[in-house]
Symmetry: C2
Subunit: 246 residues, 2 copies
């Protein structure tokens, strides 16, 4: 592997891409867990039999994807979803002035049942697999703004329990990671405008028919497999969804 020509061998992927996969493989196996410090670049290079520059390129890429965090003078760490980070990254609702507020979440319902057809399809599960179905109401400045319907593959979240009916400054993704070892690394969202139905209206305190912003999010784990399907309906009267294009 020291000879750069070896890259043209049976495996055509660049060395740094292979290094990256080796590291992710260890994360998936649980050898390295969120918050752990990695061996230094030099040690990793020696272990994998490549140069330090190659390890560096792999780690730089992973840092750009928020998989690891690098700190000069300290080391490289497996990224951990903090309240702050998860919020910054996955919560895109802001108020009129563009300020992000800390949302609270109140779980209204949580039960295990067989997946509906749409749920099985979106989560890439066999028909009628077991799923957790959750309903949650999120508030900003104490006012209910978002009603969420969440579906989770039950197999990934054994024994899931959550306190019902209390407003908590919870980020579910922190919980997924800490209690079940599942790290959400990316998500796809589809946004629509819809009219509030009776349940939306009651939960959010608006009139039936009020335009709401619907966010359909599929979240994926380290291995790219679906981890959560979340359908949110937001009262966008005093908030909006913020997105940057670069």
């Amino acid at each position: 592997m020291n000879d750069s020509g070896a890259v043209s061998g049976p495996d055509f992927r660049p060395l740094y891409a292979q290094v990256r996969e080796l590291i992710i493989g260890r994360m998936l196996r649980g050898d390295w867990r969120p918050g752990d410090i990695l061996p230094s670049e030099g040690r990793l290079a020696a272990e994998f039999g490549v140069s330090q520059g190659t390890v560096r390129k792999a780690l730089d890429e992973m840092a750009a994807q928020n998989l690891v965090v690098r700190r000069q003078g300290l080391g490289t760490f497996i990224a951990r979803h903090s309240q702050q980070h998860a919020l910054f990254h996955f919560f895109h609702i802001r108020d009129e002035r563009g300020v992000k507020e800390l949302p609270t979440g109140r779980v209204l319902q949580l039960r295990q049942r067989k997946a509906e057809r749409a749920e099985a399809r979106r989560l890439d599960l066999p028909p009628r697999s077991a799923v957790w179905a959750m309903r949650r109401l999120r508030a900003l400045r104490g006012k209910p703004v978002i009603l969420e319907r969440i579906a989770l593959p039950a197999a990934l979240f054994p024994g899931l329990e959550l306190p019902l009916g209390r407003d908590l400054p919870d980020e579910l993704y922190v919980l997924y990671q800490q209690r079940f070892g599942i790290t959400v690394v990316r998500a796809e969202e589809k946004l629509r405008a819809v009219a509030a139905d009776a349940l939306d209206a009651k939960s959010l305190g608006v009139a039936e028919g009020t335009p709401l912003l619907e966010i359909d999010r599929l979240a994926r784990g380290l291995d790219g497999r679906p981890v959560e399907w979340r359908l949110s309906r937001c009262n966008s009267a005093h908030h909006h969804y913020y997105s940057e294009i670069e």
Copy 2:
């Protein structure tokens, strides 16, 4: 500049960041225009008095931001908004199956007038500066789906003319670049759900009060200054806004 210690001098920015700025400066001055090929890494390195690796790091960053396009065996080029690229990058509306369709645009109105207060504020212009005000209707598969209100600083678009009333597969950003040398490099979007007003309803062929997806976009040029403010109202009955979070 050859001595790496020089970086600790009066200018604390890394060399590759300085190289990046030198290159962007030349793009802003018009020395290098969209589509132009840059000198090779080696030549740039010699010219700037740094190593090839440092130029490479600067160019790699710029490629990641779509400012340049690198092609192995060919060279590095100043990025050009093609119809395809602008669409892929800045048009986020998709149909129910997640497929992106080619939209057409019909300019309903285009005139120059004094900026309204909100326009001046968003575009960072002095009050009552001259702006172009445009109204445009965009269709997908021949059906009107998006009504846009667009404001442009008149100073940046002298003599702007557009054919009125015809459906054209136009990307305005391609036009901005080709006719006015203005390259849109990033944009900030705020999304809300709103009820269709009388004009929306008539233009989009929906009932008044129908929930519409409103997209408030501020586009910025190479130098980071606002270039366009666009307020779009979309019928999201058969389409959605797609966004990826990584």
